[in-house]
């Protein structure tokens, strides 16, 4: 892609990630929640993948592999299961309502649910774009 989109992606990628994290953390007070937050974070990754080529993306994510993202998603799903089934009665009614630290079990579930959705959509986007890169018919 041309330099305008690359520069804009470089600027907006951390902002979009931070906004997704904000939507996940603030989901029990304002509009939002786990699923939209994960979709926002994955859209940041989608912007990155569209704007840059294969080598640039893999240089940026040199340390992280796709298997690690998959294991992050599975660990977060396990955390959600444990919190909903085991820790649920202990986490309720421990915080003051209408502040950031409220919502009982909801705040943790929002956070981990957003991680599951974000990493899952990242895996799907990366798998599909890698097929596109392999066939080398990509127009961008």
């Amino acid at each position: 892609m041309d330099i305008i989109i690359k520069t804009a992606t470089r600027i907006f990628f951390p902002i979009i990630l931070m906004f997704g994290f904000y939507v996940a953390l603030h989901g029990h007070l304002s509009a939002g929640g786990g699923f939209p937050a994960g979709a926002i974070m994955a859209s940041a990754f989608l912007l990155l993948v569209i704007a840059f080529t294969e080598k640039e993306v893999e240089n940026k994510f040199n340390e992280i592999k796709i298997e690690d993202i998959k294991s992050i998603a599975s660990v977060s799903l396990l955390a959600i299961i444990i919190m909903e089934v085991v820790l649920r009665p202990d986490l309720l009614h421990t915080q003051t309502p209408l502040t950031l630290w409220s919502g009982g079990v909801t705040i943790y579930l929002n956070l981990f649910g957003s991680i599951v959705v974000a990493s899952g959509l990242m895996i799907i986007i990366y798998s599909l774009i890698k097929e596109e890169w392999k066939s080398k018919k990509s127009t961008w």
């Binding site: 989901g27 029990h28 007070l29 304002s30 509009a31 939002g32 929640g33 786990g34 796709i66 998959k70 998603a73 599975s74 799903l77 959600i80 299961i81 909903e84 309720l92 009614h93 915080q95 309502p97 209408l98 409220s102 919502g103 009982g104 079990v105 909801t106 705040i107 579930l109 929002n110 649910g113 599951v116 959705v117 899952g120 895996i123 799907i124 798998s127 599909l128 890698k130 097929e131």
Partner: protein
């Protein structure tokens, strides 16, 4: 002829169910009033939608996450085919 009769019977049952669900037995959803009145006390979260999704009906959401995870695993398995195909080439 048989097909026509069966289609007519199926549509008749469909309209009967629609009629029954709307006029004979109108939906009395008492649980929505309970959610609106008690969501802040019971869960502590100001966002009622979020408290319904993650607290009142959280097992439903857990199943949703599991379905999403199954879809992720399916895409991963289909696109990262390192198994039989590569072994055959070698």
């Amino acid at each position: 002829m048989k097909n026509t009769i069966s289609i007519l019977v199926a549509f008749g049952f469909l309209f009967l169910f629609i009629f029954a669900s709307t006029s004979i037995m109108p939906p009395e959803n008492n649980v929505k009033d309970y959610y609106i009145q008690n969501a802040l006390e019971k869960t502590g979260s100001a966002n009622i939608v979020n408290s319904i999704i993650w607290d009142f009906r959280s097992y439903d959401t857990l199943g949703e996450e599991t379905v999403l995870f199954a879809a992720i695993i399916a895409v991963f398995l289909v696109s990262h085919k390192k198994g039989l195909a590569d072994k055959k080439k070698v």
